[in-house]
């Protein structure tokens, strides 16, 4: 039970931060596979089944743009932050820093 509980709480804690991390990482253009690799290398493990639907949702919300392009003889879908996404990311990062600061003070 304690491990189930910690898994559930960790999931809740990660849910919002994944979106911020993906938006921040897409300040530079990536396709899904390299985006996941970059996030994992930076210490944020995210599985494909979560990442790809998240990318679609963020695109549908107008925060990302995407295009199919050929690279290494293979068609790939590249994502990058939209101008609106850039504005939202700035606000989210401000919010994140404020939360982080508050949490630091509390703990």
């Amino acid at each position: 039970m304690p491990s189930e509980l910690i898994d559930k709480l960790r999931l809740e804690l990660r849910r919002g931060t994944l979106t911020v991390a993906v938006l921040a990482q897409l300040r530079t253009e990536h396709y899904g596979y390299t985006l996941r690799k970059a996030l994992v290398e930076l210490g944020l493990d995210i599985d494909e089944g979560t990442l790809y639907p998240l990318l679609r949702r963020l695109e549908a919300q107008g925060l990302l743009t995407s295009e199919w392009r050929e690279e290494d003889k293979r068609e790939k879908r590249f994502y990058r932050l939209s101008p609106e996404g850039r504005t939202i990311l700035k606000q989210l990062l401000d919010e994140w820093r404020a939360l982080n600061g508050a949490l630091d003070n509390i703990v």
Partner: protein, 318 residues
Amino acid sequence: MNTLVDHYLLQLRTFLPAKQREDIAAELRQSIGSAVEERERELGRALTDNELNEVLRGFGHPMVVAGRYLPMQQLIGPDVFPLYWYVLQAVLIVIAVLGGLLAGVALLTAPNAAQAAIQVGVQFFWFALQAAALVTIVFAALDHGKARFAFLERFDARKLSAGVLGVRSAPLSPIPRSDTVFEIAATAIFLLWWVEWLVFPSEWLGVVLQLPNDVERFFYPALALCVVELVRLGVDLVRPYRTLPRVALRLVLNVAWLTLIVLAFRAERLVEIAENVSSQNPDGVLWMAQASMSTVLFVMAIVTAMLVATDVVRLFRR
């Protein structure tokens, strides 16, 4: 690409929203391809089926992955859920109490009591399932339509403390919701019986019973009292605490019920035979029915008098 991947994507496509199906499948195929290529580079050879299976397991079950692309991620969201849960519980409790009471009546009156009680139980089980499904569908539709419940957002503590007719008074004590639900069910059953929408089986007695005119003359007063009671109980359900005006209202209503019961007792008979169908001993049946009605009325009078006394004490203590 490997047939394992083809099958995986084929399965996944069946669950995807039609408009994006090809696009999403193409992107996932490309992503799986990149993952496979990298793994093959690491190993220096083509992947076995087991290794490929591990790569696909990293993506997740096709149905789960496809589900994450769907616009609707949950049937009823957290905003609507508390109200949904409350309404569902209230509906199921009322149905359970009604079912229990009717099963009890069937046990006491039907010729084949156990069979009749089981029939009532089964009918109410299906009725409860249908009611639960209907409530769920309605709330899912409200959530899907992004309905907002204005009364939840415009919450005002001052209005919350207002009682019957908007009269505000300090709360005296809480009213258990289970008590209110039971009272609603009992009042509703009495009301339905009183207006003859609910007829308890009596054919097995061999006679058709009816209320005499002496009792029938209380039809409209009892009907009015039932309606006012149901409104009062509805308020109790939404605002489950006693206030001075609400205790006073219940006191008035119970005094009125007590008066009706005493007047009914003064009638020559509480029940009479409308038609003798097959009884060999109609006088005996009438005596039994009269005794049953008298007992029920007597118990009702005692309970009502106790409620009156309790409310008088509450008011005077205040």
